[in-house]
Amino acid sequence: MVYFIEQFLNGVELGMLLFLLAAGLTLIFGIMDLVNLAHGSLYMIGAYLAATFAAWTDSFVLGAILAVLGSFAVGMVLEVVAIRRLYGRSHLDHVLGTFGLLLFFNELVRLIWGPAGLTLSLPNEMLTAVQILPGLFYPLYRLVIIGVTLAVAFFLYVLVMRTRLGMLIRAGASNREMVGALGVNIKLLYTLIFALGAALAGFAGLMQAPILTVQIGMGENILISAFVVVTIGGIGSIRGAFVAALLVGLVDTVGRAFLPDLFHAYLSESAAGSLGRSLSSMLVYLVMALVLIVRPEGLFPAASK
């Protein structure tokens, strides 16, 4: 039971990180209709910036704040210089262009920070584990991740549902042309949305950085998971992204933790090991394929076009 709760919390933590990535991705997808393969690069840049700034300022929190601002700035520049010119083009051009950006950013990071990875160490007070149930100790930092990302999710909710900017974002997701026709500064709105997505991705990257190493290509696999989340949730829907992120995080973590054991009961040691490993890695894709087969537009399709 203790093990299960621990894995459950790990799943929630992964889900919340995926939500940070997927929220930006789903907005960019839903509003600008842009397939952005470079979103994982922003995640990577967030982590690298945090590691660098934290080393300069000698403070994790300051480094994190600077890194989020830095990711926001990188996102803004990227949108103005390149991304903006891809709106309204075919998805194929998006794939070509943003794949080029992905190659560029990987190489740029290698040029600036070198091929070896970096580490971002936590302040000492974060390194403890807290007892959340009798007999269950859980790393404080992972709880902090869950708490902070929940706060960010709440902030996003307020931003999107309760502010004028959010109203424009929602309007943009359901009918882009109409928003532009009503005299909204679409260009600026798009730049802000893209930069917001970049900041969220960078934030996800820096939050994950102390747990994993900061390395080139770290955004590539998690990008695909974020795409899975966006697709399951329904493109353009933040609520869908939230539900799907939790679903994907839990399915992935719990599957990895329990499937191999489940197979051990029926199969030989090695067969169960390899089958369990494959199947638990496949599980989220299986879930996504099933969701799309039953509901071809995801769980929460954005308002009809």
């Binding site: 070509l96 390899s274 496949m282 894709y285 996504m288």
Partner: protein, 323 residues
């Protein structure tokens, strides 16, 4: 009643023909060059270009002409490769067994993926094809007997008895080239047939095609399977070329590479995938010789083509095409 732009188009059409002919001549002469200079690396590089061009061509059949953007096409390279590798490991060395198995396995996978995916549209289709490719990727990672994550070395190339010896690099090169040309001929015939008209019609307006009585789902599915089969063959060639298979063959970035090749060359052009594959691989090779950071230049080039060359490199030699 000819207007001046028509003359210009005529001239440009001639340019496209000239470029395509040049590409074919270069490809035909690579072994001669290699024999004269002893530059074996050129042979290896160009064999790779041709094989990946065949894969990009098969992707372009569904993507460029059918509007089905598959973001998991490298999976068929992997399935074709693993069919050869697994059979070789189990002692079935004959190409007459391996290659049909590669084609059959990838067709079957394409049939399942297509039947389940073709209900979805747009980005959802991109993502579901990606999901199926990822599943196959993780199956390959779990195949401990066949190397798991590390991959599997193939010690014996497919044997075709006295017919053709694949260990002979020149013969293998020309076999790949012949298969690529056959593939291009097949795609050309398909696209210009009644079948191809239905596929292209479904790309521009599927609802209308259905309304006039075409079961577009079945047409698209058949097209999807043909593309999978062709790419499976390319996978069998690739396994024979590198003597090695690994899950990395079907990593999503490989699928991205294939899309990049097709789009770079121009998805509406018959020679687009070939020119795209050639440009992409040769550029990558050339850049990594002059700099330690090739992608710093290659990435912006791809971005530039995406932004400014609507229609890929083909737009440079022929202007924009209809449709």
């Amino acid at each position: 009643m000819k207007s001046p732009p028509d003359h210009r188009r005529g001239a440009r059409f001639g340019l496209r023909r000239a470029v395509n002919a040049c590409v074919l001549v270069v490809l035909a002469l690579v072994p001669v060059y290699a024999a004269l200079t002893g530059d074996n690396f050129a042979m290896t590089l160009f064999t790779r270009v041709i094989i990946l061009a065949l894969a990009a061509l098969s992707l372009n059949l569904i993507m460029g002409f059918g509007g089905m953007v598959s973001f998991g096409h490298a999976v068929y390279l992997g399935i074709g490769g693993y069919a050869v590798g697994i059979l070789a490991k189990e002692g079935f060395g004959s190409g007459f067994v391996q290659w049909p198995a590669a084609i059959a396995a990838s067709s079957l996978y394409a049939l399942v993926v297509g039947a389940l995916s073709l209900r979805t549209r747009g980005v959802y289709f991109i993502m579901i094809t990606l999901a199926f490719a990822q599943m196959a990727y993780y199956v390959a990672v779990g195949l401990d007997r066949y190397g798991g994550d590390d991959g599997l070395t193939i010690y014996q190339r497919s044997s075709f008895g006295p017919l053709i010896d694949l260990n002979n690099k020149t013969l293998f090169y020309y076999l790949c080239l012949a298969l690529l040309l056959a593939g291009m001929y097949l795609v050309w015939r398909l696209v210009n047939s009644r079948f191809g008209l239905v596929i292209r019609g479904a790309r521009s307006n599927e609802r209308r095609m259905r309304a006039i009585g075409f079961p577009t789902f079945r047409y698209k599915l058949v097209c999807f399977v043909i593309a999978g089969a062709m790419c499976g063959l390319a996978g069998a060639l690739l396994a024979n070329h590198t003597n090695f298979i690994s899950p990395a063959m079907m990593h999503w970035t490989r699928s991205g590479d294939l899309i990049v090749m097709a789009v770079l060359g121009g998805v509406q052009a018959m020679f687009g995938p070939l020119i795209g594959a050639m440009t992409f691989l040769l550029l990558d090779e050339a850049l990594s010789r002059v700099t330690d950071f090739p992608d710093l230049i290659l990435g912006p080039i791809l971005l530039f083509v995406a932004i400014y060359l609507n229609g890929g490199l083909d737009a440079l030699i022929g202007g924009r095409r209809r449709g």
